[in-house]
């Protein structure tokens, strides 16, 4: 029995916009727009360099809801490049690129094998004229597959040396994501598959080492929470062993960064601190930075309220934008603990005391109906989470207290 080598990726989400990006200059926006494609190019390049036998992509190659033709055209080109190197591609569609939602009839080259429906089916991969592996999987026909699919995976034809399962769905323990095709790890492990190629969860995780059950995560961060390296796994299976290796593919990296402003008495010192911190993290990729600033509460709050922080961030962005591996701070938070309001204020019979007590109790939704009920705005505005509501109330409190106290 020979060995096989393949590349496992999922959740490409080609051409999907970055969530939570505002006020980016055109160059940054363009880079972000191109980032998923660059990551795809990297994937192809990796497959070629590593001389894999085939490539597995477990769902969510693109988003039907925001489906751009470009995504599929680029995908096709990537596949063509792989075809030119005689690399097969086995892909299944997931909840974002479900078959019935695809409006563009793009025909992929012959090296691409697609699982055609929700029935778990299999392809046999031939290497040097011999059947080397059997690949199992299914595609989402509709937006959701709610029932568990693990039980449908049954190994057939044991003469074939390797059996690989592709499954786009969520492990039941994970509640952060939409629960599709749920499974439990034990369900998978008890089958004798040599490799479980999972998809759907964007955070990469190795659920089990042997046999490998792996979420490769997405190949390019698209959300401020999708930080760090993003990529695929190169898997080498042989009779005796199984080697897995993570290869980063991202074109732009998202990073959380914290800057200490305690030593900064003036705002321009903070600017230097920020740039220093940013330059430290820049290595091979452009960076999108989610910056938190810690330091003197009052000073931070004052800078924030006066709009100085915003200015500093703008200046820093402008100065770091022109570099090859640029750095863009897309979000910043002064770590001001608004919740710590002087407890004495709560005690007083005076107006401020009355005010702070009032804000704690009130609900803000009715207050915002002006905008949220407006016909036009309703289409675009997103309701705040509870957490967000608490923060908003907190900030409002601070504005009021500051306003009243300083008069």
């Amino acid at each position: 029995m020979k060995s096989i080598r393949f590349l496992h990726a999922a959740d490409l989400h080609l051409d999907s916009p970055f969530i939570g990006l505002a006020h980016a200059p055109k160059s940054v926006l363009d880079s972000i727009r191109e980032s998923t494609f660059l990551a795809l190019d990297n994937l192809v390049q990796t497959a070629i360099e590593k001389q894999v036998d085939f490539v597995l992509i477990t769902g969510d190659l693109f988003d039907n809801e925001k489906q751009s033709l470009k995504a599929q055209i680029r995908l096709k080109k990537a596949f063509e490049l792989l075809a030119s190197q005689n690399i097969m591609v086995y892909l299944s569609y997931g909840n974002h690129d479900y078959i019935k939602g695809n409006i563009h009839p793009i025909t992929y080259p012959d090296n691409v094998c697609i699982f055609p429906d929700e029935q778990v089916r299999s392809f046999v991969h031939y290497k040097e004229g011999q059947s080397a592996a059997k690949i199992y999987g299914f595609s989402y026909e509709n937006r959701a597959v709610t029932e568990g699919k693990a039980s449908e995976y049954i190994i057939s034809d044991t003469t074939i040396p390797f059996h690989i399962a592709m499954l786009h769905g969520s492990i039941q323990s994970n509640t952060d994501h939409d629960m599709y095709a749920p499974f439990q790890l034990s369900e998978l492990v008890e089958k004798d598959f040599h490799y479980w190629a999972l998809g759907h969860i964007h955070q990469r995780q190795v659920l089990k080492e042997s046999p490998p059950v792996i979420y490769p995560g997405n190949i390019q961060g698209r959300h401020r929470k999708e930080t760090g390296e993003k990529g695929c796994y190169i898997v080498e299976l042989s009779a005796s062993s199984c080697k897995t290796q993570f290869i980063p593919l991202q074109a732009i990296q998202y990073t959380k960064l914290s800057v200490n402003a305690i030593a900064c008495s003036e705002i321009h010192q903070l600017e230097q601190e920020i740039q220093k911190a940013c330059r430290q993290i820049i290595r091979d990729h452009p960076q999108m930075v989610d910056l938190s600033i810690v330091g003197d509460q009052k000073k931070l709050a004052a800078w924030d309220q006066e709009g100085l922080l915003e200015e500093v961030i703008e200046i820093s962005n402008a100065s770091m934008q022109s570099e090859l591996h640029w750095c863009h701070i897309f979000r910043y938070r002064p770590e001001v603990d608004y919740s710590t309001i002087d407890p004495f204020l709560y005690e007083g019979d005076h107006f401020i005391g009355e005010l702070v007590r009032q804000i704690d109790e009130a609900s803000i939704e009715p207050l915002l109906k002006d905008l949220f009920k407006q016909k036009q705005a309703r289409k675009y505005v997103e309701t705040f989470s509870e957490e967000e509501v608490a923060k908003i109330k907190n900030e409002a409190q601070h504005i009021l207290i500051k306003g009243l106290m300083e008069e």
């Binding site: 051409d15 916009p17 970055f18 969530i19 939570g20 990006l21 505002a22 006020h23 980016a24 926006l29 972000i32 727009r33 925001k66 751009s68 033709l69 470009k70 995504a71 055209i73 409006i103 563009h104 009839p105 002087d342 004495f344 204020l345 005690e347 007083g348 019979d349 005076h350 107006f351 401020i352 005391g353 009355e354 005010l355 009032q358 804000i359 009130a362 803000i364 207050l367 915002l368 002006d370 905008l371 407006q374 036009q376 705005a377 289409k379 675009y380 505005v381 997103e382 705040f384 967000e388 908003i392 109330k393 900030e395 409002a396 504005i399 009021l400 306003g403 009243l404 106290m405 008069e407």
Partner: protein
């Protein structure tokens, strides 16, 4: 909370001052202006709430370095404690000392003050005249609201905050606005969304277009098939049309062929062969005819030629030839005769001419007789030479005699002249004596004139002498030359000798003469130079000398004469010899003249010339004779020849007698030529005749062969004549041609001939109809092709659109931009939400707060207002629903706050503040500070006011700062703190 004691270390004008506060009742702090009331007030506030460094610096006393102090207060909860603040310590922060000795910091103090800030304190518990003064400044409409604001919080902060928030909100969003940020973003978003939707719709056409492309491919396929079919039909039809004339042709050819006989007998290549035979036959025939004719002609000519010159036989002919030869000789001789005659004549002329020239006594006849032997020439020339020599010698001899005679004469004359110069004997003697005398005297004088005349004579003499000497010299020279010449002629040496002698004599004579002259001259000259006496002497001496010289000369001359005489004798002898020789010569000449008579008149010297001429003439005359003889011989020969010729010719030709010699010769020549010509012609024709006969034979042979072949051809073709043969040949050719055409057409029409039906239909079908059919087909094809082109264009267009869609990525870009702007919008919304929440909360709290406290505040206000106005007003109404404060008199008349007098307004304000303070003090009970708040009050109102204050001071400490001395009377002394020069009053 009560203030018990204030210890000022240093604050403004206050330094090291302690003020005790009364324990009960209001605290009236009186002081004139500039007494430090405000400073004290500020000190109290500083102690309670602290001051920022800048303000602390402001209150730093100029006289002391310390700034700060202590304030001892009594708190109802914690009891007495002292607050200490020092500028220099703890950055102005408070340190509190409790009674039990415990120390607390600022935070503890703040908790004692229940979170009260200076600001809040001032707005609730502090009230001054300036607060009242601020009122009119406010907008009248705002007054009620402001009053409420103060009433609720004790300051205008809420109001301004609210306004600020409102304006911020308005900047962010207005429900029906365009300008605010969120409104703008919304409209932008709307536009983006629309763009996005349209792009999406555009991309959605991708599927549609793809399908269209597939459909178009099908259509094109179908059209192409149809086109192919139509084209095939068209090609067939066109070929049919093309074949139509051929088919028709084929049919007619077949019909024609049927009319021909089955078999046409004709030799193979008959026409060609016939032609060949004829080609050979015809020239032969014509040649044959020509030859026959020639043979006949030649026979006739030959017989006529045989008739001519019948009588002539060979002998005669030979004779004629001989004559002709002789005639040639005759002609040559004739020419020779003429030549000879010419020569003869020429010679005769020459001889005559020469004879004339010679002018001697000779004629032609004589010339023949003269015979000149060989020695004659030499003799004659010798004679001539001799004669010449003799003549020269004779002439020389004569000349010599002349010379000699001349010399002699000259010498004689010389001698004569010399003799003349000779002094006489006496004279010589005299002179000699004279000289002698003179010599003895040793002096001699000669007169000048004597000398001069002497000199002149001397001069003349000298010239004469000179001439004489020269003449002698030249003569002797001439004689010498003459003698030399004679000597050379006569060849006698004596002559040369004489000549030499004469030259020597001449020279000597000339030299001696000259010498003598020189001497004489010298003498003469010497004479000049001497003195007179000497001149005389010299003259004498010269004369003597001269005399001697002349005598010497004469002697010389005599010698010369003697030699001359000798010479003359020789000359005479030679003359004799010459005469002898002349006579001898003359004898010889005479001899010759006798022999040749013609020499008589001719001088001897010309004889050699005559000899030469004669010799020539003799030769000429002999030649002449010889020529004459030859001439005679030739003439006789010619005469003979003519006779013979005449006899011969007369036998053939008549009338020859009269003819001249030349004519006869011509006749002879003509006769001979005529005869020869006849003979040669005869031979020529005989030859021709023979050749022609031979040719005739061979031609007849050939003719028979070809005629046989000709006959054979005709027989094979089964015809009688040549004409029929050709007719048959044509028939055959025609048939063959038709057959060939038919087979060619058969090949061409192969595809059509197979189908019997087509063949028939084609033959019968109409051409125009077929053309029409084809045209219709063509039209259909054109239409199909244009359809195809259109479809291809369409497919290219759609494909271009597809690739444009594939490469555009516009939707993708729009999506990203939209997403980002939506995020921006969301962030703005959040910002708005915060501010909106704040504002709404503020409003809400305000409402609640008012609801909670207003009733009680108004109740108290009402109470105090009644009290202060002396029950004039019974009710105060808080502003509701946009209305301002209203007050109601006891008569139930209501007035708005704006309608009140300033005093009443003040009363209302104070009532309101007091009420608020009281309500607020329920918990806090901080000292209430009044700072000259009653300036506008009259005594009644003031009294009422103070009564109220006194009453209130039971509940809370009231600090009343005033500069009005009148007020003091209203209070107990113990309650009054007088600030005067920093001296405590009580």
């Amino acid at each position: 909370m009560y203030i018990e004691k204030a210890t000022i270390y240093g604050f403004g004008t206050w330094v090291d001052k302690t003020i005790e506060f009364p324990k009960l009742g209001p605290v009236v702090i009186y002081g004139e202006n500039e007494s430090g009331k405000s400073t004290l007030q500020a000190f109290i506030l500083f102690m309670l709430f602290g001051l920022p460094p800048k303000q602390r610096n402001f209150y730093k006393p100029r006289t002391s370095g310390k700034m700060g102090g202590r304030l001892t207060v009594i708190d109802p909860d914690t009891g007495r404690f002292t607050i200490e603040r020092l500028d220099t310590m703890r950055n102005g922060a408070a340190l509190c000392y409790a009674e039990n000795g415990a120390e607390y910091d600022e935070t503890w103090l703040r908790s004692r003050l229940k979170g009260m800030t200076e600001q809040t304190y001032r707005s609730i518990f502090s009230f001054s005249a300036s607060d009242l003064a601020n009122l009119p400044k406010m907008k009248e409409e705002d007054l009620g609201e402001v009053l409420l604001g103060i009433g609720l919080t004790g300051s205008t902060a809420i109001h301004s905050l609210e306004t600020s928030l409102e304006s911020q909100i308005n900047r962010l969003y207005k429900p029906s606005g365009k300008k605010p940020l969120i409104n703008e973003q919304l409209s932008k978003l709307e536009a983006r969304s629309n763009h996005l939707q349209s792009e999406k719709a555009h991309e959605a056409t991708y599927r549609e277009k793809k399908e269209k492309v597939l459909k178009l491919y099908d259509t094109i396929e179908e059209t192409q098939q149809r086109l192919q079919k139509n084209k095939a039909t068209l090609t067939l039809n066109e070929r049919k049309l093309q074949a139509l004339p051929d088919l028709k042709n084929y049919a007619s050819v077949l019909k024609q062929l049927e009319q021909f006989p089955e078999k046409v007998p004709f030799p193979e290549n008959g026409m060609e062969r016939m032609q060949q035979v004829k080609d050979k036959l015809l020239p032969i025939k014509s040649e044959h005819a020509l030859l026959q004719e020639n043979q006949k002609k030649y026979g006739e000519t030959l017989s006529s030629l045989n008739e001519n010159f019948k009588e002539v036989d060979g002998e005669k002919l030979q004779y004629a030839y001989k004559l002709r030869k002789q005639a040639e000789e005759y002609l040559a001789e004739k020419k020779e005769i003429i030549n000879i005659q010419k020569q003869k004549e020429q010679i005769e002329n020459q001889v005559e001419q020469e004879l004339d020239q010679l002018h001697i006594d000779l004629n032609k006849e004589l010339l023949h007789e003269i015979n000149l032997p060989f020695h004659t020439e030499k003799t004659w020339s010798q004679l001539k030479t001799e004669q010449d020599t003799l003549a020269i010698e004779q002439s020389k001899h004569v000349e010599e005699s002349h010379q000699l005679k001349k010399d002699r004469t000259r010498l004689l004359s010389q001698a004569e002249s010399l003799e003349e110069n000779l002094l006489s004997e006496e004279r010589v003697k005299e002179l000699k004596s004279k000289i002698h005398e003179l010599n003895s005297n040793n002096t001699g004088t000669f007169s000048d004139s004597e000398l001069r005349s002497d000199q002149n004579t001397w001069e003349k003499w000298k010239q004469k002498k000179k001439k004489t000497y020269q003449a002698v010299f030249f003569y002797s020279l001439g004689l010498a030359i003459l003698l030399g010449v004679i000597g050379t002629i006569v060849e006698t040496y004596t002559y040369y000798m004489f000549a030499g002698v004469s030259i020597i004599v001449g020279v000597l004579q000339w030299w001696s003469g000259k010498h003598a002259l020189t001497e004489v001259e010298a003498f003469t000259n010497a004479k000049e130079n001497t003195s007179v006496t000497m001149v005389e002497k010299r003259e004498a001496e010269q004369q003597l000398l001269k005399h001697e010289n002349v005598s010497t000369e004469i002697a010389t001359l005599e010698a010369q004469l003697k030699s001359l005489d000798h010479t003359f004798a020789g000359w005479q002898e030679r003359g004799e010899q010459l005469k002898n020789r002349q006579t001898l010569l003359n004898k010889k000449i005479e001899n010759e003249r006798q022999q040749y008579s013609f020499l008589l008149g001719i001088n001897v010297i010309y004889w050699p010339d005559v000899y030469h001429h004669l010799k020539h003439l003799i030769r000429q005359s002999r030649e002449e004779n010889r020529l004459t003889e030859t001439l005679n011989q030739l003439e006789s020969k010619q005469q003979r020849f003519f006779q013979e010729l005449k006899v011969f010719l007369s036998s053939f030709i008549k009338g020859t007698v009269d003819k001249t010699q030349e004519d006869l010769l011509t006749l002879l020549e003509e006769w001979i030529q005529g005869n020869e010509k006849n003979e040669s012609q005869k031979l020529h024709y005989q030859q021709l005749y023979k050749e022609t006969t031979e040719q005739l034979h061979s031609a007849e042979k050939k003719l028979s062969i070809y005629e046989a072949a000709h006959m054979e051809l005709l027989q094979y073709a089964e015809v009688d004549g040549e004409n029929a043969f050709y007719k048959r040949a044509n028939l055959l050719a025609e048939k063959e041609q038709l057959q060939e055409t038919s087979s060619r057409l058969e090949q061409l029409l192969q595809p059509f001939l197979h189908e019997e039906n087509t063949h028939n239909s084609l033959v019968t079908s109409d051409e125009t109809e077929m053309v029409e059919h084809i045209n219709r087909e063509k039209q259909r094809i054109t239409m199909l092709e244009s359809d195809l082109e259109n479809q291809r264009q369409l497919i290219a267009d759609v494909k271009a659109e597809l690739s444009q869609l594939e490469s555009s990525g516009e939707y993708s870009e729009a999506l990203h931009v939209f997403s980002m702007e939506k995020e921006e919008f969301q962030q703005s919304v959040r910002k708005w939400a915060v501010i909106k929440t704040a504002k709404e909360m503020l409003v809400e709290t305000k409402r609640k707060y008012r609801d909670k406290y207003l009733a009680r505040v108004m109740e108290k206000t009402n109470e105090y207002f009644q009290l202060l106005t002396g029950e004039k007003y019974q009710n105060v109404y808080a502003p509701v629903e946009g209305k301002v404060f209203q007050v109601e008199t006891t008569d139930h008349v209501r007035f708005t706050v704006n309608e009140l007098s300033q005093g009443t307004k003040d009363q209302l304000y104070i009532s309101l503040r007091l009420a608020i303070s009281e309500i607020m003090s329920e918990k806090h009970r901080l000292p209430f500070i009044l700072d000259d708040a009653f300036v506008h009050f009259d005594s009644t109102r003031t009294e009422r006011m103070f009564q109220l204050i006194k009453a209130l001071s039971n509940k809370q400490q009231i600090l009343l700062f005033t500069c009005n001395e009148d007020f003091i009377k209203y209070f107990e002394l113990e309650n009054i703190i007088q600030l005067k020069n920093s001296v405590r009053i009580n």
